[in-house]
Amino acid sequence: MNEKEVLWESGLRIKSVYTKDDIDKNVTEEDIGLPGKYPFTRGIHPLMYTKQPFTIRQYAGFGTPEETHERFMYLIKNGQTGLNVAFDLPTQTGLDSDDNRAIGEVGRVGMAVDTLADFETVFKDIDLNKITVSLTINGSAIVLIAMYLALAQKNGYDISKLRGTAQNDILKEFIGRGTWIFPVDKSVKLVVDTIEYCAKEVPKYSPLSVCGYHIRESGANPVQEMAYAFCIAKAYIDETLKRGITIDEFASRLSFNFDIHGNFFEQIAKFRGGRRLWAKIIREHYKAKEDSSSWLRMIAGGGGGGLTKEQPENNIIRSAYYAMISALSGTQTMALCSYDEAYTIPTEKAAEISLRTMQILLYEMGICDTVDPLGGSYYIETMSAEMENAIIKEMAEVDTHGDIIKAIAAGKIQEAISKQAYKREKDIQDGRTLKVGLNCFRKEEEVRTVQFHPYNEEAAQMQLEKLNKVKSERNSLKVLESLSKIIQDARADINLMPAVIDAVKAYATVGEITDAIKEVYGEYEEKIYF
C-alpha cells in the first residue's frame, strides 16, 4: 500500500509493489497469450518489429501542393517511411481557396487543395505502393478519398491492391476538432459510403481511422479515450452492417488513432488492455471469423496535450518518452508532435528532431530485438487487465445513454469532456499536476530561441491563380453534369462515392462538390454549450 494514495489520471489506484500474485488474480495465461494470436494482447502480429519496424509517419503539409511536396521529399530523404497529409482549414471544411471565408487561411495550417490537379502535384514522383499515404481529412473526406483513388487510377495503379488511409472519423469532429460540415446523421452516412465502396472496390485501403486522440486532447482521460473510440467504432460498424456488408468484409481495414501523454505506464496498460478488449468485441460481439478483423491496427502518437510553450526543448524529451511508450505498446505506426508544435507548424529542424527521436529508438535501443518486452511484467499485466475492465465499465456507461451518435448530436459527450478539460487545466494551473518548466522549475525570464515556421503570404495568391487556370481549362459541361449527378444520388439516398469520383475526375472543386452535397444534406447546426 502506498503511503500516499497514488492514482492514475483514469482513477485507478496504484500499489507500491506488484508481484506474481497480482497477475494470477487479475488475468489468465490465455488472455496474456502470444503475439499474433487472439486476443492479441502482446501484439497483432507474431513477429512485430523483429520482422518489420513501426512506420514513421509525421503529420506534414502547408502552403501550396508544391511546398508540401518539397517537405514530403525532405522527410522521405530523412527516413520517414509513410506520409500523413495535413490540409488547410478551407479544404477541411469544404471551401475553395477563393471562398470569402477562406481569407487568411489558404495554406495556413496545412496544404491547400481545390482540385485533382493539386493531388497530381503533391504526389508527383512518389510511389504510392512504397510510401503509403494517410489523409487527415474528415468533413470533406469523401471528396479527398475520391481524389486519391482518381489519382491512383490515372497513374496506372491497380486499385484492387492500393493501400493508404483516410482519417474520415466524423463523429469525433463533433466532440473535439470541429471540421464538421453536414448534419450528424448525414455525415455518418457519408463515412459508411466510403467504407462500403472501399470494401468492394479498394479492399486494401483503410477508409477510416477512429480517433481516441482528439477526444483525449479535448479533456477525456485514457479510459474514456478508449471507451469513446470503441463506442464510435461500433457505431460505424453497426451502420455498415445494416447495408448487408459482413464484418469480415471490412473490419480488417479499420484503424485507430490514439494519444500519448501523461503517465508512462498508464498509456501502455491502456493500449495492451484496449487491444485485447477490441479483439474480444469483434470476435464475441460481432462474431467475426478472420483474425485480421480483430486487430487493433493503430497509430499511437505523441500528443500535443502534454507539451508546453515554456522551455520548449523539454518537449523533445517528452516526445522521446512518448515514442518509447508507443513502441512498448506495439503500435503499427508512430508520429510525434514536434517540439515547437504547441504554437507553430514544425520547422524543418523540429521535424528532423522528431524523426531522429524515432530512429534512435529503432536503431540504438534494441526495441526491435523481441516482441512485447513488457509482457509478463507484474505491474503491466495487472494494470492492462484493470484498464480493460475500466474501459468495459465506461462503455457500458455510454450505452445507458442510448446510441452514442444521438449522445454526440445532443452534445452530452462534449459537455462531460469539457468539464473534465477544465478540471485538468485547473490541476495544472494550481500546481496539483506537475509540468516541468511550467509550474515547477520555471524560468520567469526565459529567452526563447525557437524559430517560427513562416506563413507564405504568396501561397494563397499562387493557389488562386492555379485554381483559375484549372477552371478555365476543364470541361465545364462535364463538371455541371457530374455535380447534378451528385445531387441526384444524394436525393436517392444511395452511395455517393461513384458520383464524387466522377466529379473529381472532371476537375470539379472541393467547394463545388461540398455545395452539391449540402444542397441535399444541409449543414450542421452546432449545439452551443460549454
Binding site: T179, E310, A342, S418, K426, Q429, I528, F530
Partner: protein
C-alpha cells in the same frame, strides 16, 4: 442590491475548430462570478458582433488558434467602427508574444499570448468591473 455581473461574450471567429481552451476559460469565468455567452464555432466577425449587441454584453473575447489573429482583428476593428460600437474587445489563443502589441494597436483592449494563465485573464475582467 446585488451587483450586476459583468457579461462576457466568447467567440470563435473563422474556421478554427479548437474549442477546448475557450470552453475551459468559460468555465473559469463562470466560477469567478461572471456571466458568459459562447457563440460556438465557425462564426464570422459580423455574427459575433451581432450576438454581442443582441445579448447586450459588456466585453467581447475572440479565441483564435489558427494563426489568423491579425487578419480577424482587423476585420473586428472595421466592424466595430462601422457600427459605431464601443464595447471593448480582447483576443487570446495561439498568439505569439511579438503580436500582442500589434493587436492592441489594431484596437484590442488586451491581447493574451499563448501560455497566459487563467488567473491573468480573470484579473483583466475584474479590472473592467470597476
Amino acid at each position: 442590491m446585488e451587483k450586476k455581473k459583468l457579461k462576457i461574450l466568447l467567440g470563435k471567429p473563422g474556421l478554427d475548430g479548437h474549442d477546448v481552451g475557450v470552453k475551459v476559460l468559460a468555465h473559469a469565468l463562470v466560477d469567478a462570478g461572471f456571466e458568459v455567452v459562447y457563440t460556438g464555432l465557425r462564426k464570422t466577425i459580423q455574427q459575433i458582433v451581432d450576438k454581442a449587441v443582441e445579448k447586450k454584453v459588456d466585453v467581447i473575447g475572440l479565441s483564435i488558434l489558427s494563426g489568423t489573429h491579425l487578419i480577424l482583428c482587423e476585420q473586428m476593428k472595421n466592424e466595430m467602427s462601422k457600427r459605431s460600437l464601443s464595447i471593448p474587445w480582447i483576443v487570446g489563443g495561439n498568439i505569439p508574444d511579438n503580436d500582442t502589441e500589434k493587436l492592441k494597436e489594431i484596437g484590442a483592449d488586451a491581447a493574451f499570448a499563448t501560455g497566459t494563465s487563467i488567473e491573468t485573464v480573470i484579473n483583466y475582467f475584474k479590472s473592467l468591473k470597476d
